[in-house]
């Protein structure tokens, strides 16, 4: 029963899409919005009921699948896989999407393509939910591409603007780079294991499908991970996400903050058991580089949405890092909390933009708190949550990540950066988020015109803000990570988790190739010593948590204090700091010059190759063809007219005809002689063959 409820909830947005594609314009504004939002709300209700039912009591996982097609001799099933992570993700997506759909009815009011907007949103809802339910790498890939397609449409929603269509194109192509590697990763997995459903792939790998090919497994893992690098905007494929802010703000909230970009993290979570220690280390470093780099850029950005975009990249980096250092539940927990507060931040920024009539530059804002109190308060809650203020959801998840990172670096001292970078970035996060909040809502109004006309948004927009704010506050409460008990050979079981994080952690893989490989490095341990080790690990983990909590909170306080001193008290002048650090500021302002670098290398290189291809085709290949035709014509005239134009037998005649036709390429069609010419050639060919056969 359960899986079918989720399948129905999954298909509801598809119904919305199909109806709106064909009847959207007739349904019109605002009814198309009601339709899409209504269907999404129904899906959310179904998934909430399903989730409640699940929490009360459930099996480890549910699978439903149907044969879809046969690849070679292997049947590929199209199926859904439901476990605790699926449930949590599904509920999060439907709830956040419902809020954003409703919000969009207000935000997109009066847009000439209002129904189209909800058409795309519905397709996105369907694709995203499909991605969560998919039970195989191929299924993941299919919906992976579909969410990318929706993202493309929605970034380019206002396609009259060149910047929007450029951003849409860039997003899709950069993602395709990741997808290309993703596809190679799938090919490697399929080629070696011969199966596609994740469950069976894990079984095959556990039984040693890659025995003796550890390098290939690492390669496959990194290739699969590159899919996530593209979608979750990790270094070096992060360049598309800031530009994606060209899309309408609800799109930024839903797709480019809360759900789709988190799909990369979700993918890494799903394929986690396949990642070798080397691959995991790669993952961790990519996450660390991303989170610090984008946090630094966020300090100098002045567009409200761009600050949030870089903040999103940075937070996704945290999640990727967490998975890389083995903090599976921590990373995915942060995914969920981040979805709530980042959606809230984006919707808040949308409310600000809406209230300020399209102004996005925070340098022109200020003192909006009085003008839009609800937006201001909800925005503040989200700001504090992302900064990591205790008792708010972001605090718990960030703390869990830092604890995992600390635990990892404790045993791998050479990789100390994997803890230092996220700790430093925690301070930077608090700083740039407070900067954003203070400049927007608190400090002196800097543009009289903008300030004068600013107004609070309508109810249809602020109610979703309030709902998300409530979620942001309490979603992390009462959580407890389960304790894990080693079963040997890289297998674990988990017990005693509580709250949201406990629920997520239930879906944690019970086996991973990296654990197996690590344990294989140690001599086999008895059950008694294993229990001792478990107890010791639990104790240590507790210690890491306390230490991480202390460090994270101090970092947060440092960042908040700094922002307060600079932007509220103005004890330190931001302008002067910019002057003193001019080269650094310039580097950050230009986002480390990645766009320029890629344009100068990859884009220019490919275009150069392309024009070379065009030239080669036109000049070399066509030149050869036309040239040989001309040459044949000359030969024909020579042999036909100069040598002998009387006693011509069929063979020579044929050659001459061929040449004549060729010679007249640019003049006129010799249509009437084609039949003779075939006849001659046919006879000629036959003679050659008969001679051949006779000789043999």
């Amino acid at each position: 029963m359960m899986p079918y409820a989720f399948i129905i909830a999954w298909l509801l947005p598809l119904v919305g899409f199909v109806v709106l594609v064909f009847r959207g314009r007739r349904i019109g504004e605002p009814r198309s919005g009601y339709l899409a939002a209504g269907l999404m709300l129904t899906a959310a209700a179904i998934s909430l009921v399903g989730a409640t039912r699940w929490v009360i009591g459930h099996p480890a996982s549910l699978n439903v699948s149907t044969p879809w097609l046969r690849l070679g001799s292997q049947w590929i099933n199209f199926g859904v896989h439901i476990d605790s992570l699926t449930i949590v993700m599904f509920t999060m997506v439907t709830v956040v999407a419902s809020c954003i759909f409703i919000y969009s009815i207000g935000y997109m009011q009066g847009d000439p393509r209002f129904p189209r907007f909800f058409t795309y949103l519905s397709l996105f809802g369907f694709s995203m939910l499909g991605l969560i339910l998919a039970d195989s790498l191929i299924g993941l890939f299919i919906f992976w591409e579909l969410v990318g397609l929706c993202s493309y449409f929605l970034i380019g929603f206002w396609f009259e603007k060149t910047s929007a269509s450029n951003a849409a194109k860039k997003a899709f192509i950069v993602n395709r780079v990741g997808d290309c590697l993703f596809l190679i990763g799938i090919a490697t997995m399929l080629g070696t294991t011969g199966v596609v459903s994740l469950e069976s792939v894990f079984n095959q790998v556990r039984q040693g499908a890659f025995a003796g090919h550890g390098g290939l497994l690492t390669f496959a893992g990194i290739c699969l991970f590159f899919g996530a690098v593209g979608k979750s905007a990790q270094f070096p494929l992060h360049v598309w996400l800031p530009d994606a802010m060209e899309g309408p703000t609800p799109v930024s909230a839903l797709i480019h903050a809360a759900t789709m970009v988190a799909a990369g993290v979700y993918l890494v979570g799903r394929i986690f058991p396949l990642l070798t220690p080397t691959a995991l280390l790669f993952v961790a470093y990519i996450g660390a580089i991303t989170l610090i780099g984008s946090a630094l850029i966020a300090i100098v950005m002045t567009d409200i949405k761009r600050v949030l975009a870089y903040s999103t990249i940075s937070q996704l980096g945290y999640m990727i890092l967490a998975l890389g250092v083995g903090g599976w539940a921590a990373g995915l927990f942060h995914l969920i909390t981040h979805a709530c507060f980042k959606a809230l931040l984006f919707l808040g920024s949308g409310s600000v933009i809406h209230g300020c009539h399209g102004e996005q530059d925070i340098r022109k804002m200020g003192q909006l708190h009085r003008k839009m109190p609800i937006t201001s308060i909800t925005f503040l809650i989200a700001t504090l949550a992302i900064a990591g203020v205790p008792l708010l959801s972001g605090f718990y998840s960030k703390d869990a990540i830092l604890a995992s990172a600390l635990g990892f670096t404790w045993t791998h001292r050479v990789h100390g950066l994997l803890f230092i970078l996220p700790a430093v970035a925690a301070a930077i996060t608090a700083f740039y988020m407070l900067r954003l909040y203070l400049l927007t809502f608190w400090t002196q109004a800097r543009d009289e015109h903008v300030h004068h006309h600013a107004h609070e948004s309508p109810k249809v927009m602020w109610v979703p803000l309030a709902v998300l704010a409530v979620l942001t506050v309490f979603i992390g409460w009462g959580g407890k990570m389960p304790e894990r008990h080693s079963l040997g050979e890289g297998r674990y079981q988990y017990e005693g988790g509580r709250g949201l994080v406990g629920l997520i952690a239930e879906a944690q893989p019970q086996w991973a190739v990296s654990w197996q490989m690590q344990e294989a490095g140690h001599p086999s341990v008895s059950d008694v010593s294993r229990e001792e080790a478990d107890a010791e690990a639990a104790h240590e983990e507790h210690g890491f948590h306390l230490m991480a909590m202390a460090i994270a909170t101090s970092a947060m306080l440092a960042g908040v204090l700094m922002a307060w001193l600079v932007y509220s008290k103005e004890l330190i002048s931001a302008g002067k700091a910019t002057q003193v650090l001019a080269p650094v500021h310039k580097l950050l302002w230009n986002k480390f010059y990645f766009d320029e670098l890629y344009r100068a290398t990859f884009v220019a290189g490919i275009l150069l190759l392309a024009s070379f291809g065009k030239w080669f085709d036109r000049v070399v290949l066509d030149g050869l063809a036309d040239g040989s035709a001309r040459w044949m014509a000359r030969l024909a005239f020579f042999s036909g007219l100069t040598l002998d134009n009387r006693g011509v037998d069929g063979l020579v005649n044929g050659a001459a005809r061929l040449a004549l036709v060729g010679g007249n390429l640019v003049r006129k069609a010799q249509t009437g002689r084609v039949r003779n010419y075939i006849l001659a050639l046919t006879t000629g060919g036959a003679v050659i063959v008969l001679v051949f056969v006779w000789i043999w």
Binding site: F143, L146, I173, I184, A187, I606, L607, S611, L658
Partner: protein, 513 residues
């Protein structure tokens, strides 16, 4: 024994040609439509013969997999034994259906042909007969006759109804194909005289695949390599494979829209079909030679990448689509070359998918050309504002070609890539290297498709295209079935294609292995 179904499908268009030549002028178009529709409806009659389990349908081996065989003695004199023999198996049947569908849609797309419609539609129907004959002929001589029969109408259709450089393009097309035909002719006669079917020579394509019928070929490696090469060139010109492809962009640019649809959608398939019908089953030991697999595989990858790069550099919309055809047909060659089940299936699927998407794309380009009378991409732009329905359909067509999951282009590409990754014929690493290079096209294809979508449809509305009429009902009638097919094949690839083709393809692969 003979059911005459295939024969009637093949010759209904020819009958239509005769009728078109005599009906009064105002009935020409409707007559042509009637006969293409009739051919399509008749071809649906093949479908029931291919339902059921593969074993029943395709027999235990390749030679028993043919259905609806019609056989009549044709020329039996002077030592020749030529039969009129047609029949379909898993690879012929989908292409027959594709032919009748695309021809029907192309006929609707031809509605606005005003220059001597009588000649146009007569040649058009003759072309359809030729195509149907190629995809059904089971006698090499008959195959050759139909093969040549497609050449003449196409030559005139491009040369008379084409664009400004039509004569150059038509002759180029003709000469290139003829070069291939001559080589095929040599191989055909060679096979005939070398064959020994119970003491007699034979042109029968099924008999020729039976072990022992070509005794000399079993021992002379040089002989089968030579024949394979000549046949390969004949088919490579059609597919078309680098470096024999340069006729294609010219032919497409000059050909009228419906003829481009047929050219890309069907004529190119003759090459891939020829490889699967003649080269591989008759010369299986040649196909299994590692050097042959390397050569074909590398050429396939060159096609894929080179075609995509050339497409990226084009500014003529139709030429861009033509180069995209070259790139997509590279997947067919790569899939066949590396001799895996998945690769074969992917190649066959790609042929059908490309038949749908390329016909759609050429039609879409034609729709714009009819309205603005040029195809210069940089001068276009903002059409999404003026023509939203058209833009929606166009995006469907282009994204299907780009290989978006859920649409038909994806399945063929991913099958070929996954199949070639597993290929054993090139040793443990060779096939993987080719696959990785081919996979780069995923990015390049997105590059040229999205870039052209942006330059043609997106951006602010341009004043010069103010009042451009939206896509008409007739044009939707052409595009909607193609779009629906693209979705149906993408979502249910097994039920729509693989279930029909995989039995035969497995048999061919078994012959090679």
């Amino acid at each position: 024994m003979n059911s005459w179904l295939l024969t009637s499908i093949i010759f209904v268009p020819l009958l239509g040609m005769g009728t078109v030549l005599v009906v009064p002028p105002h009935l020409i178009r409707r007559t042509a439509l009637l006969f293409t529709l009739l051919a399509f409806l008749l071809s649906l009659g093949i479908l029931p013969h291919f339902l059921g389990t593969p074993i029943q349908v395709f027999g235990a081996d390749y030679q028993n997999g043919f259905k609806l065989v019609d056989r009549l003695p044709w020329i039996h004199s002077g030592g020749f034994a030529i039969d009129y023999m047609v029949g379909v198996d898993g690879i012929g049947f989908p292409l027959v259906l594709l032919t009748t569908v695309i021809c029907l849609l192309a006929c609707i797309a031809s509605w606005n042909i005003t220059k001597s419609p009588r000649g146009y539609f007569a040649l058009f129907l003759l072309l359809e007969t030729g195509l149907l004959g190629v995809f059904t002929a089971l006698d090499f001589f008959l195959f050759y006759v139909f093969w040549e029969l497609t050449l003449l109408p196409m030559y005139f259709l491009i040369g008379i109804w084409g664009g400004p450089r039509r004569e150059y393009a038509a002759i180029k097309f003709f000469l290139y194909t003829l070069l291939g035909s001559v080589l095929m002719l040599i191989v055909m006669l060679w096979f005939f005289f070398a064959s020994n079917d119970q003491g007699a020579h034979t042109f029968n394509l099924i008999r020729l695949t039976t072990p022992g019928v070509l005794p000399a070929f079993a021992t002379h490696k040089a002989m089968w390599i030579a024949c394979f090469t000549m046949l390969y060139i004949a088919f490579a010109v059609k597919i078309p494979v680098f470096p024999f492809h340069t006729w294609l962009p010219d032919a497409h640019v000059e050909a009228p829209t419906p003829i481009s649809m047929i050219l890309a959608g069907l004529l190119l398939k003759m090459g891939g079909y020829g490889l699967l019908r003649i080269s591989y089953p008759i010369l299986p030991h040649a196909a299994a030679v590692q050097a042959v697999a390397w050569t074909l595989g590398i050429l396939g990858v060159i096609n894929i990448i080179y075609g995509a790069l050339c497409a990226l550099a084009q500014t003529d919309f139709k030429k861009l689509v033509a180069y995209s055809s070259i790139s997509h047909m590279g997947f067919v060659l790569l899939g066949i070359a590396l001799l895996t089940q998945a690769g074969f299936q992917g190649a066959m699927f790609q042929m059908i998918a490309h038949g749908i998407t390329s016909a759609a794309m050429f039609f879409l380009v034609g729709v714009i050309y009819d309205r603005v009378h040029h195809r210069d991409i940089p001068r276009l732009g903002g059409l999404a504002v003026q023509m939203p329905i058209y833009t929606g359909l166009a995006i469907l067509g282009f994204f299907a070609a780009m290989g978006l999951p859920g649409l038909c282009g994806f399945i063929g590409e991913i099958y070929v890539l996954l199949g070639s990754w597993q290929a054993q014929v090139l040793g443990p690493v060779g096939a993987k290297v080719l696959t990785v290079i081919a996979a780069v096209s995923v990015v390049l294809t997105a590059g040229y498709i999205l870039w052209s979508v942006q330059r043609v449809f997106l951006g602010a509305a341009k004043p010069e295209y103010e009042g451009v009429p939206e896509i008409s009902g007739r044009e939707i009638l052409v595009m909607a079935p193609l779009g629906a097919l693209a979705i149906a094949l993408g979502v249910l690839p097994w039920q729509t294609v693989f279930t029909f083709v995989s039995g035969t393809l497995d048999h061919i692969l078994k012959l090679v292995a």
